[in-house]
Amino acid sequence: MPGSIGYTIWVLGSLLEVCVVVSAIAKHSFRRYLCLNIYMLFSFLISLGRYYAFNHFGLRSSEYKYFYFYSDAVLTIFLYLALITLYLHVFDEMKVEKYVRLTAVLLLVGTVLFSYGVVQQSQNKMLTGAFFAELSQNLYFVGLVLTYILWGAILKLRETRTQLIQLVLSLGIYFSAFAATFALGNMFPNFQFFGYVVPVFGCLLPLAWAYAFWRLAPDARMAPARLAVVPR
C-alpha cells in the first residue's frame, strides 16, 4: 500500500488505535475490556514494526512480506481472543466461563489444523507464509460467524449495556467487511483496489471502539427491542 494515500490511512489507523487505549484509560474502561485494549496496543506496536520493516527492506522484500503475514496472523489470534472476552461479558451471569474458554480453544486449534491441511494440499513453495495468510483468512471468517452468534445471544438474552452492544456490533462490521474483501480478493485476484480497502476497514474498528469508550458511559443502557432489524 505505497503512496501518500496509503501513508495517510496507515498513520490514521495507528493514531485511532492509540485513541482507543487513551479513551479507555480516561473513561476507566481499560481493565473492564482489557483484552480489547491489549489488542489495540499490540496492533499499534505492530504498525510501528511494519513501518520499520517497510523502510529498511522495502515493500516487495521477503522480510516485509514475512513480517506482514506473521504479524497479521498473531493480530488475528489476539482479536479472536478479544472476541471471546466479549462472550465472557455477555454470558457473565450464566457462569459458563469454563465452557466458553474450552470451546474457543478447540475452535482455534481446529482452524489452525484446517488451515494447515489446506496449505499442505496446495503446491505453494512459501509454505509458512501461505499458512499464516490462510490462517488469518479462516480466522476472520470464524470470527464473523462467532460475532454473529454473539449478536444473536445479545438479542435473545436482551442485553442492555450500550457500550458492550456497540463494541460487538462494530466488531461484526469489521469481521464481515474483512471476510467479504478477502472473498472478493480471491474472486478477482488482479484487482488492485483491495490494497486500499483493507486498511480503510482497519480504521473503522478503532474509530467505533474509541467512540464507544469515549462517549458512552459503561453503565449506559438501551432497550434491546430497538436493536432488532425486525421490530419486536
Binding site: L169, S176, A177, A179, A180, F182, Y211, R226, V229, P231
Partner: protein, 132 residues
Amino acid sequence: MATLIFILSAAALLQFFISYCRSLIAASIKQPLSAEVRDVTGIPNTASGEDFARVIQLLDLCPERPEERGRIRAINAYFRLLNVVRSTLARVIPALVTWTEMERGQCTYFAAVTLDRRIAFSRDMLAQQLDA
C-alpha cells in the same frame, strides 16, 4: 466457495451495519428536543424522513464537533440505504414501507438531537470567548 463466503459476509455486514446505526439512534431517541430546535426544524413530536435533508443542511451551518463526524456519516449512509430499500424492495413488499418510514423519521430525530447539541456547543464556545 469464495462467492458463497462473499454473499454470507455481505449479508452479515448489512445486518451489523443496520443494527449499529439503530444502536446509535437508540442512544439519542430518549433525549427530548429543545423548543428552539423544534421551531427551527419544524419538527413537532414525531420526525419525518422528509425533513432529514433540511436538518442536515442546518447541521452543516453549525460548527462541527469532531467526535460526531463518524456517527453522522454512518446515519447518513443508513438513511441512503433506507431510501434505496424504499424505492426498490418496498415496492414488492409493502410491509417495508411502514418500517422504512419509521426508520427514516428516527434518522431525522437523531440529526435534530445532534443539531441541538451543536447549538449548545456553539453557545458554550461563544460564552467562553466573551469571558476571555
